[in-house]
Symmetry: C2
Subunit: 358 residues, 2 copies
Amino acid sequence: MEKEEDRLRQEYPWIQTPLVVGAPMRLIALADMAVEVSKAGGIGFVGAGTDVSTLRSHLQHVQKLLHSSTPLPVSDNTLPIGVGFINWGAGLADSLSIIKEYRPAAVWFFAPSSPASLVAWADNTRQASPATKIWVQVGSVTEAMDTVKQVAPDVLVVQGTDAGGHGLARGAGLISLLPEVCDAVAAHFQPANNRERKPILLAAGGITESRAATAAFILGASGIVLGTRLLATPQAAISHGYRAEILRATDGGQNTVRTTVYDTLRGTQWPASHNARGLINQSFTDAVGGMSEEMNKKLYEEEMGKGDVGWGFQGRMTTYAGSGVGLVKEVKGAREVVGELRDGVRKLLVGLGREERM
Amino acid sequence: MEKEEDRLRQEYPWIQTPLVVGAPMRLIALADMAVEVSKAGGIGFVGAGTDVSTLRSHLQHVQKLLHSSTPLPVSDNTLPIGVGFINWGAGLADSLSIIKEYRPAAVWFFAPSSPASLVAWADNTRQASPATKIWVQVGSVTEAMDTVKQVAPDVLVVQGTDAGGHGLARGAGLISLLPEVCDAVAAHFQPANNRERKPILLAAGGITESRAATAAFILGASGIVLGTRLLATPQAAISHGYRAEILRATDGGQNTVRTTVYDTLRGTQWPASHNARGLINQSFTDAVGGMSEEMNKKLYEEEMGKGDVGWGFQGRMTTYAGSGVGLVKEVKGAREVVGELRDGVRKLLVGLGREERM
């Protein structure tokens, strides 16, 4: 792991290790979040998602926030944050011109419409901004190895099925997925030629506090990704109702569910291979109870006018969250969240070393 | 964790720590498996399951195997193995007379028909064999806390959704489930009265090798449970075809599924709250493709006469396995599996302590 950490510190010179990354949550992780996470020594991402029409203004906001304080040390004149794209939706040409202009330290690709499309995104990004690192999110061993072979990513973000929001409909938890990906990647890069192309593995999915993060390092990650935990920060661009639900919800395995119901209500066109984990609410309960899609949509649209009361298990507003939501108990600044998590991991690892009885 | 390990070594004096437990897999973990796991310094279980009519003969076999080698140190004259019951199916009266006669070191309860039934099992077991420890398997924070309050178990086996075989239909991976259960249990036993009733937490679900096991210890477990890994041992009472599938299968998140299809084919009467994870085979593919239950059952029953070729993704024999199946690559004796896993955990923890860079 040390070798990977050295590489990370070289490529993203403002970071501290163990690395904590802020997930590019669509419409939620914008300039405030990205900059605060990076200022905390993590890597913050702006979640451009499927629509890059407002991305330029978010990146201008990032620049402004960064200029207003001590500059972060960067590599090759890149912007010390990343940008996340949901590739099946985002326009390639527009995205490339923005990547070229703003030179983010990393792009995070997810859910391309085809392997060929992913290759096009990767090749064109490397041309537009050679210093920008290419991260690809995957949810299975097969997807990981296909991605390694097709685009030689700098980073593989391995997402377990406990993650909130979108991911592969069928999946495994990090406890079994991550070591298997780790072994498959290691086997692919044996014998030792082309070692420099070996991607760094990051873990996402179900990590909201330091025990889970430490576990992910042991499972083979060189850094971890926070999504749900960062919803309970002032930097998340979400309503009070959404944030209150994140604090209220417990027992994520029982009170969240992976489903396409919320996509259907919102009319988003995800490929059939993907669905999303969110808190169970009235829309979901009605859908499984047999309510027509038309009626469910109508009630959802009415609910949109109700403000914060639209959230909750009797509400209808979509509340994406991972299985670790029950461990999120209070709102804190993103910077504090990242710092505390990193310190927590360090302490746990030191504590383990001292546990001679083991 | 040290305190819990001391308690474990006192209550099960033949064990070594970190504790490795053999899951009470129904029809699969019988005398050979239970004894080999205990001889390896773990705690082996006989999986009585829903039917105790052959349990007495399995326990006689256990006694015979134990008598044929150096006796294991035991506490209070108990049998140094456990017995697992699937409570909704197993007969209470018959089970109690066997528990009384054979005094297993532990009983493992799972899926009772009601909270009252679980209380009856626990109370009567304590009366029949006071030295027998009561373990209860749970799959959610709610179930964990209800169980703690209702029956004060000696051990809570916290099962993540990556587990093979039966468990809660809706669940979370250990990475988020275990720390939340851990915190809820700790909060329940604050202030510090009645601390001796605090259950020991064990982790099950998705653990097939030492990285996952080490992660589970960090997440809050005081011991781990192996199921799928032990299928690839000569001690598992399974056919060659089943074992070959366990070795062949990779990428468990994609190639296993939680479903009730296999229960339907076999006519087992699990409560609706539960389903089971197994490798995807032709029966499952046909069921989701719309084949009638009647036809699917007919084909399943025909397949039963075909021997080892009945297994595989084009076969129809049920092949329960957890998401960690892709990390199971070779057949080894159960004793070797347990010893290697324990050594692997120790090494990983020592390695971490040395990693000063973290």
